[in-house]
């Protein structure tokens, strides 16, 4: 029997102002799979991610690890699905890094004695030293803030990790560091991004979204190398594929 981490069926969502963000989305993601969602701005990528743990609820069905996403099991679903937001300032709202990382487990009633170990492990998994815990996130560089944001999600030990533009605004070194960290994660990954080089590095499967619909779903390399398909949806073939730097 196939194990699905996410099963989305006929999902549609319209924002209160009448903007149709998602229209009849069907998407299955296997346990342990790493998929990228690419598409132009306003395609509905972030909106789709927000449906994975019930922040937004549209029509249609969303199943997470076999359970239907419903009001009654939101707490369990949010244990399973971690979301990394685009702007770390949205994700880091506590006075210190330690408190930010511990926020999720405390809400999930993890025993107090267990918290320090989990916080240290999450910081370590995100490539950070535990001494950063006492600092205010306002004092950190953007790269550090991004990794602390990742730690705030990893600490909840999610089975599925949704990431919204994880490499945006990062300098090349921090970007490379984040890609290394993300590549080492064991969770099912769903990455919404414009960074097609990241997609080539991390994801084996890519879904192309535009105007709230899925237009293509397939093997990453084949899809990103398809200049016609990419051009039709406002995207470009990544430089490394155009110049032949990357072997197929």
């Amino acid at each position: 029997m196939t194990d699905y981490a996410v099963r989305i069926t006929r999902l549609s969502y319209t924002y209160p102002d009448g903007t149709k963000a998602l229209e009849g989305i069907d998407l299955d993601v296997l346990v342990g799979e790493r998929i990228a969602i690419v598409g132009p701005s306003g395609a509905g990528k972030s909106t789709l991610l927000l449906h994975l743990n019930g922040i937004l609820t549209g029509t249609g069905s969303v199943k997470i690890m076999g359970s239907n996403l419903e009001e009654s099991n939101l707490k369990e679903i949010r244990k399973e699905v971690g979301l990394l937001f685009q702007d770390p300032n949205d994700q880091l709202f506590c006075p210190t890094v330690y408190e930010d990382v511990a926020f999720g487990p405390l809400n999930l009633s993890v025993p107090a004695a267990e918290i320090p170990r989990r916080v240290d492990k999450a910081l370590n998994d995100a490539g950070l030293d535990h001494s950063i815990g006492s600092r205010s996130s306002h004092h950190l560089s953007l790269g550090e803030r991004r990794r602390v944001s990742l730690a705030t999600v990893l600490v909840m030990e999610p089975a599925i990790l949704g990431m919204d533009e994880p490499t945006s605004n990062l300098d090349p070194r921090n970007r490379r560091h984040l890609i290394e960290v993300v590549s080492g994660l064991k969770a099912t990954l769903i990455i919404a991004t414009h960074d097609l080089e990241l997609v080539l590095d991390v994801c084996s499967r890519t879904v192309l979204m535009d105007q709230g619909k899925i237009w293509a779903d397939g093997e990453t390399h084949d899809m990103l190398a398809n200049a016609g398909l990419m051009g039709k949806h406002g995207l470009e073939v990544p430089l490394s594929l155009r110049s032949g730097v990357r072997s197929t």
Partner: protein
């Protein structure tokens, strides 16, 4: 603006810093209330409380220059407040001024011997409303984010204008900037709320307490209580 604008020296490890937040909140509140009740004509009591504050400053290791600087920073407001009540006579105005300065120094000492988050924990443990504590925590975290946002907007405005506009036009630009900042803050708050929900937030804002109430706390509280009682008994 620096992020540790409020509690720059709160990370020191003087005996005062090592006390639990609730102890300091209680003790400093007691001292402030006592200062407010010092009779106008009791010069000796004013002196005793100044001396006690100086002793606490010495124990805290917070630089004297910093406390004086901060006090001077707010001094104009105290002077204005004192001058606003001249009908009480010089003695009353002088007493009002000294009380305000003493209270201010004690507050600066409290906020610089206790990390802001510890203060919030203390307030929460004293039963302060959850929503108030949470908002103060957000204020501490986001005040500087918003300040930076405002500074960036100001820079963007300065880049696109030559010379100063007439006052009315300046006012119009400023109001539209404030409006934009408000909308951005609102959007920011919405995204933050989503991030909180996705990490299991259900109404309770957990704050981790690292310090425990100890014998030192009890001793300090007793000391302050004895001091206050004896100083008023002295009179």
């Amino acid at each position: 603006m620096r992020h540790n604008f409020i509690d720059r020296y709160a990370a020191l490890d003087s005996p005062l810093h090592l006390l639990e937040a609730r102890t300091k909140i209680l003790a400093f509140t007691g001292l402030i209330v006592a200062v407010l009740f010092i009779p106008v004509d009791s010069g000796i009591l004013f002196f005793v409380y100044f001396f006690a504050t100086a002793v606490l400053m010495g124990i805290s290791q917070v630089p004297l220059g910093y406390i004086v600087g901060r006090t001077l920073f707010i001094l104009p407001f105290i002077v204005l407040a004192s001058l606003a009540a001249p009908w009480h006579g010089y003695m009353e105005v002088g007493a009002l001024f000294i009380r305000a300065v003493l209270c201010l120094m004690l507050l600066i000492l409290l906020t610089n011997t206790t990390r802001f988050v510890e203060l919030l924990r203390g307030l929460k443990k004293f039963g302060f409303p959850q929503i108030l504590v949470m908002n103060l925590s957000f204020l501490y975290r986001y005040l500087f984010v918003l300040t930076e946002e405002a500074m960036r907007m100001k820079q963007a405005r300065d880049c696109r204008r030559v010379g100063r506009a007439p006052f009315r036009k300046e006012l119009k630009i400023l109001s539209s900037m404030l409006g934009t900042l408000l909308i951005r803050s609102f959007e920011h708050a919405e995204r933050m709320h989503s991030a909180m929900l996705s990490r299991g937030y259900s109404g309770d804002f957990p704050l981790i307490s690292r310090r425990r109430f100890s014998w030192n706390d009890l001793a300090f509280l007793c000391g302050v209580a004895v001091f206050i009682t004896s100083t008023f008994g002295l009179r």
